[in-house]
Symmetry: C2
Subunit: 395 residues, 2 copies
């Protein structure tokens, strides 16, 4: 009899987000007519911008005619889109060629699939609190996982430690869930650590568009030495509202070589074997997101989310409680008051002020006692939630 991948039996049930919605629904059922202020969701609330919509319509129209129809495409993406993204990197001083950029169905897809490039014996280091899929994808592939818990003592920006015996290193900056952003100097310590060890960094840049401070890096490739140790996983989900439209990209330099094998060549081989690429329609939509017009329109959506983040920051400032994030990031990460645990604080906010957030424990053990707010909601609800937080928590 065939043996299933038994590592799946080691996975914990992923009921965390389900539990949030069940508790919210139970509250509404018990309190008919009340309204909840949802400050927990990681999904965006603004529709696609007009430039992207126009490009999507045009691409759909192309698929209707013999002359403009596109069948199978290059598995790693349309050359024009990869060139556009290379230029986008160049505008930040990063040199990558189009064949170092791979278009994907989204960051979530590539974060899992990229693991195929590494031997299952490689050990994965997860800087926690973290996006749960980093851990789960590695459990599925039978990898040993080293958990590196962070705390408010380091502002949730942990530093490498020569004792850590890791081969694959997950870094997410701006971070989900903490909103903390690595400075160039702090990121350099990880790049140097990875290069010294021959480790590989999987750099999750899904929230880079929220960085406004010019002193902070958008891309790990802004750091010297990154091309020889880092793979950057990017997404248009939070940048351009593509959470339900789907498209991302991964940057992998030809300088990244391990045991004489080019990881760029391996990834190209993976793509040509394991996918037929991303929809022509979506790639044309993504092109428009990088156009000057698209970028202007997207900036005004980002400004709205940034304003939400400031409103929530100002509220937390008034409470006097410790928090990080909210600047250069869509997330805020607060310490629960009076040593409350994450789920207790969740219930407290739900019942007292009808504000729904995300318990920190959902992102790893060291998230216990913390709580995440997101700035992706609508501005009116965000202002009301902020006012309610102040009135409940201000000392």
């Amino acid at each position: 009899m065939i043996v299933p991948n038994l590592h799946y039996a080691e996975l914990q049930d992923s009921y965390f987000f389900l539990r949030i919605s069940e508790k919210s629904e139970a509250y509404l059922a018990a309190h008919p007519g009340e309204k909840l202020y949802k400050m927990g969701i990681g999904d965006i609330s603004q529709p696609l911008c007009p430039a992207v919509i126009d490009a999507l319509h045009q691409a759909v129209a192309d698929q209707a005619t013999m002359e403009h129809f596109h069948g199978y495409l290059l598995e790693s993406g349309l050359h024009e889109l990869r060139e556009t993204i290379a230029k986008h990197y160049a505008s930040r001083g990063v040199t990558l060629s189009p064949d170092e950029i791979f278009i994907s169905s989204g960051a979530g897809d590539d974060l899992g699939e990229l693991l195929d490039l590494f031997a299952p014996e490689s050990r994965a280091l997860v800087l926690e609190p973290a996006y749960p899929a980093y851990v789960d994808t590695n459990i599925m592939s039978g990898r040993e996982i080293i958990h590196l818990p962070a705390s408010c003592d380091c502002d949730f920006l942990p530093e490498p430690d020569e004792q850590i015996d890791a081969d694959l290193i997950y870094i997410c900056s701006p971070n989900n869930p903490t909103g903390a952003v690595f400075t160039r100097e702090k990121l350099k310590t990880w790049v140097d650590f990875a290069n010294r060890r021959g480790a590989v960094i999987l750099f999750d840049a899904a929230y880079e568009a929220f960085v406004t401070d010019p002193a902070l890096p958008h891309s790990i490739f802004e750091i010297e030495g990154a091309p020889t140790c880092a793979i950057e996983i990017c997404s248009l989900s939070k940048t351009a509202g593509f959470t339900g439209t789907r498209l991302g990209y991964t940057a992998l330099s030809k300088e990244l070589v391990r045991h004489g094998m080019s990881l760029n060549a391996m990834w190209l081989r993976n793509r040509t074997t394991r996918t037929n690429g991303v929809s022509y329609i979506l790639q044309k939509g993504a092109m428009a997101a990088f156009s000057p017009e698209g970028r202007r329109q997207i900036e005004s959506q980002l400004a709205l989310y940034r304003e939400n983040a400031s409103v929530l920051s100002a509220a937390l400032d008034q409470t006097g409680l410790w928090y990080c994030g909210g600047k250069n990031s869509p997330y805020l990460w607060m310490q629960c008051p009076d040593g409350m645990k994450s789920w207790a604080f969740f219930e407290y906010l739900l019942h007292e002020i009808q504000v729904v957030g995300t318990p920190g424990i959902g992102f790893g053990d060291c998230g216990e006692g913390y709580f995440r707010f997101s700035s992706f909601g609508n501005p009116k609800d965000t202002r009301e939630a902020a006012a309610r937080l102040v009135s409940l928590l201000k000392r």
Copy 2:
């Protein structure tokens, strides 16, 4: 230093299709003004049908407004699309519930990703000639591969043999490249074999829409016993012209259990962890492909490809050479005349009659001496190519 997945070094270079296009281009460069008749391509030539185009435009319009915008979706697909596909199966007498159907970015993507459900020690049986990715994805995951070569003696429909010690069994019917289609009886022998052994069949149904003979199965789930041993991988690429638009689906029954683990539950866990699902826009387009109007329009496109296949069949009938396929299938698979090898025959057709096909050797060693034609080209070129084949090969 991190160890890459060393199995990638065992892969052969995938220059096969590149070599075809290089030889074609070299011919044109040496013979300016001549035209080639491309009967080799696996890509379709007709644009998307109007019903699908309308639905895609509508879905793009939804993404432009606050009221109709869709962000993150269920990873395994929109419920309405999965229900539609379940009804499509029901129309063929197959009972599957919507949660036994998973929407994918395409059959090529799922064929690779599904391997994650099985221990790397499982042995894969590939019925050859075969789509090269069956072999390559298993090399990448370090699996032992058992090659089962077929020949014209069994009309390229091999039967199971109790000596075969396999855990995973690839079956593609209608077959790429041979065009051979398993009858219900022949497919039943494989289903029974898999159930006896506790093996799992990966059934590639990408070409099922070409089946017109009611005696032949579209789906392995038409065969008694299949739900406890088979996973069916489907695609809209050849059914509805989605090669460049991208969408497929995989059917996996809750009855498929190995070592007490439900493969349906494992696949759901894989999807919720390793993807954020398929674009809302593409899923709405796919919905329309299953509507009565969409199906009528698609049928008229399929009729065009079927007519191409008849034209090529009639030509091969006149040559007296052995071939299979061309009925209930978009592919024709012929024996090269006079014991010619595949690449020699390729050169012969290219230089003598400017017809380009696909050398059989590209699909495994037992494809040597055979040649594939496809019916996806345009009707005029197909008629001209057929006439040239007759004049060159008729005895």
